[in-house]
């Protein structure tokens, strides 16, 4: 038993642990899924946001460029309409070209006041050059057109005269020796007469600068041209590294993703790049935007911590809750286990007992049935023998009296045997009632008549108080037996000259039949046992009976759904009460005495 309890406890512990583990697994899975998706979502959102920033950046860049390009195109048209420039070009007076254009371009070359940051400032040109009919640079005679080194001038040149506006980027060093990138706009100069392109003007501007959308998160933008990148805020090495990666990405045949991730000084960055000068004869140049991801990563880290702590809280909460629940869950289980174990033992015992009892009962019932059958035959044989003896003549008178007594005894014996048989059938559950409506009034009348016909009943008074047509549900044979038993009992235990009082009445769905006699009464200590089998209330008196009558009557009443009780028993009166189920009066009376 101790061992069983231990194994039970460990089983419960296992169950509780399993429950806890399962709940923790669920919580951790949810937490990690939450982290995963939240991070991915955040990364995607941030990536998309940066991409949008970049697009906006480019869009505003292009808007400003368009403004400038329009202004430059206007300027070029004006130049083309300038007779002196035409003259200089057509009459090969190239030395006069730049002086002729000087006036026209003066405002472009003049520095805007430093505090004026507007479209005018973006229209400030660093240099300008004319291209001759072969696309080569016409070298200006003076420095008015902005200084360029010979190798820089070579990069201003075009393979042939452009027929449309072209944008190029020139990486060079400014007057102070700092690396800079100029945006070159080459516009064709068309003859006003023939509309032929006779020359081109190239203007070098400081690249259009926008107020970057991503500036708040440390976005840096620059221009990549000729494999060189100029990115303010980054050192040479970083610039070269980024340039290499972008060039590598561009060289990739199906790359063109226009974005990549790279680490600069250990800080992860997201790069976007897009070609600035499509359809240009100048070397391709790319706008490169570098978005440091440290803020994003910090955000992600914060998010991760938030989710982690939420997950941790959830886990702790889950642990507590699961602990609580597992206790709550396991407690009944535990109790159930104990109870079921006890129940099991009890049941086993009960079953064993029941089995034994049933077997005994079966055995006793069988014995009673067997015994009854075995007894009935010899009794009959005995009676027949005695009857034939009684029929003989020639025996003394005492002999005949003796035989009569013996015959009477055989009848008694038969009664006992029949009662036993009936009881054994009831015990074996083999007695099936054929329920009908029984006229109790009539039944009692018949048995009262029988009672009064008995030899020793002459001095007894019988009082009845039974309403007409009192019907009950039952099988007439056995209800009659009950009535007979009660009346017999009342007769047998009555004092000589006593009274038998029979009262019956209906109350609700029940009919109560009371039979009282004026016998000496049943001793109080014997009263509990009067319904037991083979109990004789008083053995000191010569009262006929075998102690089965009340038991049988009660069994039969119960079988009919009623109860038989001793209502009172004192020296004045002993009264029994039998209840039956009431029934509606039947059309035909069926109270035939068996």
């Amino acid at each position: 038993m101790n061992l069983a309890a231990e194994s039970r406890t460990s089983g419960i512990r296992r169950f509780r642990t399993k429950l806890l583990v399962a709940m923790m697994v669920v919580v951790s899975t949810l937490t990690s899924l939450g982290i995963f998706f939240a991070q991915r979502r955040a990364a995607d959102d941030a990536g998309a946001g940066l991409q949008r920033d970049f697009e906006l950046e480019l869009a505003s860049l292009h808007r400003l460029q368009d403004l400038r390009n329009t202004a430059v195109a206007d300027r070029s048209r004006a130049l083309a309409q300038n007779a002196r420039i035409h003259a200089a070009l057509e009459d090969n007076a190239l030395d006069l070209l730049y002086p002729s254009a000087r006036e026209e371009l003066r405002d472009l070359m003049e520095r805007a006041p430093p505090d004026e940051v507007d479209a005018a400032a973006t229209l400030h040109a660093h240099f300008y050059r004319f291209l001759d009919s072969h696309g080569a640079v016409i070298v200006p005679p003076t420095g008015d057109a902005g200084a360029l080194l010979p190798n820089e001038e070579a990069r201003v040149a075009q393979p042939h005269l452009p027929t449309t506006m072209q944008t190029g980027y020139l990486a060079r060093h400014d007057e102070t020796g700092r690396p800079t990138i100029d945006e070159m706009i080459a516009v064709p100069i068309r003859s006003t007469e023939t509309n032929e392109v006779i020359a081109a003007l190239v203007l070098g501007f400081k690249p259009v600068e926008t107020v970057p959308h991503g500036a708040s998160i440390g976005m840096k933008s620059g221009i990549l041209v000729d494999g060189k990148l100029q990115l303010a805020g980054f050192d040479r090495t970083a610039e070269e590294k980024i340039a290499r990666e972008v060039v590598h990405e561009l060289a990739h045949p199906d790359g063109r993703e226009e974005s990549l991730r790279t680490a600069i000084d250990g800080v992860p960055n997201l790069l976007f790049f897009k070609r600035l000068n499509l359809d240009s004869d100048y070397p391709p140049a790319y706008e490169v935007c570098v978005y440091p991801l440290d803020q994003l990563l910090a955000l992600q880290a914060r998010l991760r911590w938030q989710i982690l702590s939420a997950g941790g809280l959830l886990l702790v909460g889950g642990f507590l809750v699961s602990h609580f629940f597992s206790r709550r869950l396991s407690q009944p289980v535990e109790e159930l286990a104990v109870v079921s174990e006890e129940n099991f033992a009890q049941r086993q015992r009960a079953e064993a007992e029941l089995q034994t009892t049933a077997e005994e009962l079966q055995r006793s019932a069988r014995f009673s049935a067997d015994a009854s059958h075995q007894l009935k035959n010899p009794i009959t044989v005995l009676r027949v023998g005695l009857d034939s003896l009684l029929a003989r003549e020639g025996f003394p008178q005492e002999f005949y009296e003796e035989i009569s007594t013996l015959i009477h005894q055989t009848y008694r014996l038969t009664g006992v045997v029949e009662d036993l048989l009936l009881l054994s059938r009831m015990d074996a559950g083999k007695l099936r009632l054929t329920l009908n409506t029984v006229d109790l009034t009539h039944l009692v009348e018949e048995w009262t008549d029988d009672l009064l016909a008995m030899p020793d009943a002459g001095r007894l008074q019988v009082e009845t108080d039974i309403p007409e047509d009192l019907w009950i549900t039952g099988e007439i044979k056995y209800t009659g037996l009950v009535v007979q038993n009660l009346l017999d009992n009342a007769r047998k235990y009555n004092r000589p000259g006593g009274t038998i009082r029979i009262v019956a009445k209906r109350s609700g769905q029940q009919v109560e039949l009371r039979v009282a006699n004026t016998g000496r009464g049943i001793p109080v200590d014997a009263q509990p046992f009067i319904f037991e089998r083979f109990h004789r209330a008083d053995t000191s008196h010569d009262v006929p009976g075998h102690g089965l009558g009340l038991n049988l009557a009660r069994e039969l009443v119960r079988l009919h759904g009623g109860e038989l009780r001793l209502v009172r028993s004192d020296p004045e009166r002993t009264e029994f009460s039998a209840t039956f189920r009431a029934a509606a009066p039947a059309a035909q009376a069926s109270g035939v005495v068996p």
């Binding site: 007779a83 002196r84 003259a87 057509e90 009459d91 007076a93 007469e193 023939t194």
Partner: protein, 215 residues
């Protein structure tokens, strides 16, 4: 060469009429002109057009001149290129080196005549109609001078400055006639446009008329 010029000089001085002294040769003929963009018009009007950097008259005309070592003419008459109806009149002018050309403004607006041509660079500045004295330029170097107006970009005029006193402009059909030419061997040239000049050697005899076609 020096003797010859001196002789001419003496002859001119002695006779008072230089051309009479040098004979009365004549050349006449036709210059084969490029196809005209427009049908030739009777009123002899034409204009200067520029096509692929080539300046020419339209309808085409040619300047025919005799190239040789001629003594420098003194006392050359002043020529005029006026601005009228936002154009140069005449659009094409042939002059001998050293000729003074006046540019009267006969329009109702300002003009600013200038040239970036290697033969003569000048800029008369903006001047109103009836500007006095009339702005003028002396062309002292042979060559083609493109006249432009800084204000009216489309305006084109040509002045062909020649080293010879013997030149003429053909009619729309390319016909020309040069008279009072000195006898001798020369090269007859025809300027057709700024990129094209055709030539042909000629031998002139006193009193004789040469008939030749160019090219």
């Amino acid at each position: 060469m020096k003797n010859l010029s001196m002789a001419i000089s003496i002859c001119g001085t002695l006779l008072g009429a230089p051309l009479a002294c040098l004979g009365q040769a004549t050349i006449e003929g036709t210059v084969e002109l490029p196809k005209a963009h427009f049908a030739p018009v009777e009123n002899e009007r034409y204009e200067i057009v520029s096509k692929a950097g080539v300046l020419a008259t339209d309808p085409p005309r040619a300047v025919v001149y005799l190239e040789g070592n001629f003594p420098k003419s003194g006392n050359l008459p002043t020529k005029f290129v006026s601005q009228k109806d936002l154009g140069f009149r005449p659009p094409l002018l042939a002059i001998e080196v050293g000729t003074k050309v006046e540019f009267p403004n006969e329009d109702d607006t300002y003009h600013n005549i200038f040239s970036y041509s290697p033969a003569k660079r000048f800029d008369l500045g903006r001047y109103p109609p009836e500007e006095k004295p009339v702005p003028s330029v002396v062309f002292d170097k042979a060559g083609l001078v493109t006249l432009r107006c800084d204000i009216h970009e489309h305006m084109r005029g040509l002045i062909l400055v020649l080293q010879t006193p013997y030149f003429t402009i053909t009619d729309a059909g390319g016909h020309f006639r040069l008279t009072n030419l000195p006898a001798g061997r020369y090269i007859l040239k025809a300027w057709i446009n700024s990129r094209k000049t055709v030539e042909q050697p000629v031998e002139l005899k006193n009193g004789a008329a040469l008939h030749t076609n160019l090219p």
